[in-house]
């Protein structure tokens, strides 16, 4: 039998084991939810809300994932993480904001956490103010090719810093300045300024005149 010296006694082991449990509550909560579900046949309110959110904004979440991940495999992982976080978070949805705002907040926050984690391997990101306003060179007809245009749009999005990227993605999803402010936490005035700049960039990069951009 190994003799444990008094200095390495039970009290220190108990203290360490308590500290080890610091990270567990979220996982335990998740586990209990799953067990509850497996025993019952009816879908919970959380599941209903998730189904509603996916039906209404599932496509938008897919596009959002594209705005953060170029690589197909990573994009699928990100999308799965977003759906998981959304489902988990809806347990706490209390209707203080719309389901759309909630879904976008969760999705962008998950995506940001991924961007932060891999920030060191990313090229330098810029603000929307730093984007070049020059018109892309090349054949005009080529610019109207949908696939190339979509790829160019994605390239612009991937250049942007997280918050500016969010504003651009939400603008492209047709949210107005107030809704974008609600998701991002930026002031409506700040959002309006950024949206104005985004419109100018998009007009310069895609079109001959800003009037074509809504």
């Amino acid at each position: 039998m190994i003799a444990i010296p008094p200095a390495l006694g039970r009290s220190s082991l108990i203290a360490i084991s308590r500290l080890l449990d610091v990270r567990e509550p979220r996982l335990w909560r998740l586990s209990s939810q799953c067990i509850t579900h497996s025993k019952g046949d009816t879908l919970s309110k959380q599941d209903d809300l998730y189904a509603d959110a996916v039906a209404a904004y599932g496509s938008a979440l897919g596009r959002l994932a594209r705005g953060y991940e170029v690589d197909g495999e990573r994009r699928r992982d990100l999308l799965q993480d977003i759906h998981l976080a959304l489902w988990q978070s809806l347990d706490r949805f209390d209707g203080r904001c719309s389901l759309r705002t909630w879904a976008y907040r969760v999705a962008h926050n998950v995506a940001i956490s991924k961007v932060i984690r891999r920030r060191t391997r990313k090229p330098k990101l810029v603000g929307v103010d730093e984007l070049d306003l020059r018109t892309e060179s090349g054949d005009r007809e080529e610019q109207f090719d949908r696939a190339r245009a979509a790829a160019r749009l994605l390239a612009i999005i991937h250049e942007l810093k997280p918050l500016d990227r969010q504003v651009m993605l939400l603008y492209l999803e047709d949210l107005d300045a107030l809704e974008i402010a609600e998701v991002t936490g930026l002031s409506a005035v700040n959002v309006a300024t950024k949206v104005h700049r985004i419109k100018k960039v998009l007009a310069a990069r895609f079109l001959e005149g800003a009037s074509h951009v809504r």
């Binding site: 190994i2 003799a3 444990i4 010296p5 200095a7 390495l8 360490i16 500290l19 080890l20 610091v22 990270r23 567990e24 996982l27 998740l30 879908l43 998730y50 996916v54 897919g62 596009r63 197909g72 994009r75 999308l79 799965q80 759906h83 998981l84 976080a85 489902w87 988990q88 978070s89 809806l90 706490r92 949805f93 909630w102 879904a103 907040r105 962008h108 926050n109 998950v110 940001i112 956490s113 932060i116 984690r117 109207f144 090719d145 245009a149 979509a150 749009l153 918050l163 603008y171 492209l172 999803e173 047709d174 609600e182 998701v183 936490g185 930026l186 700040n190 895609f206 074509h212 951009v213």
Partner: protein
């Protein structure tokens, strides 16, 4: 692009070809269980490393009673570093209440957490580890083990690593502070 939406960038964005998604509630639950199992496995490996530390220290203290004070210091220091590693060195993930936080608040909280980690990593990990190593060297020297010829180069190596990590984490802290300042202006 077709004529009707030529130049309409929003339409271009919204009419992208959709990729298939598995969004069924059952699939999401399965993924949640998989992640939970992975976290449990990681936690188990970590706990085993603590048990390993306990076993080695206990065996040393039992076989060589004269080393007990040094072993005790080593054990406490390494246990502290292990515990800090478990509780603090977790990746930045969206919390379950992510829907309650605006992106600005979430980004700020994430950066502040990273900055705190960069600023205190030396205190949470390196200092206990260095103290543990020094206790080990002192124990070796006091009990007639390898002399200073071995202990000094080892101590110098530990200190060099300590210094390197300290400088790098301070650089990282400054970078994060700049990003936080930038967020403050948003």
């Amino acid at each position: 692009m077709s004529g009707e939406d030529r130049g309409d960038v929003k339409a271009l964005w919204q009419r992208q070809q959709e990729e298939p998604q598995d969004v069924a509630v059952a699939s999401v639950r399965r993924r949640a269980l998989t992640i939970e199992a992975t976290a449990r496995r990681r936690s188990l490996v970590f706990r085993l490393s603590i048990v390993n530390n306990v076993a080695i220290c206990a065996a040393l203290a039992w076989l060589r009673p004269e080393t007990r004070p040094f072993v005790a210091v080593f054990f406490l220091a390494v246990s502290l570093a292990q515990t800090e590693a478990l509780t603090r060195n977790t990746p930045v993930t969206a919390p379950s209440d992510a829907g309650l936080m605006t992106s600005l608040a979430f980004l700020r909280a994430s950066l502040e957490r990273e900055r705190a980690f960069a600023a205190r990593a030396w205190l949470w990990f390196l200092l206990p580890a260095a103290i543990g190593e020094l206790a080990l060297f002192a124990g070796m020297w006091a009990t007639g083990g390898p002399g200073l010829r071995v202990a000094l180069p080892l101590a110098a190596t530990v200190l060099a690593i300590f210094g390197f990590v300290l400088v790098r984490s301070r650089q990282r802290g400054r970078l994060l502070q700049n990003q936080l300042d930038e967020l403050g202006k948003a």
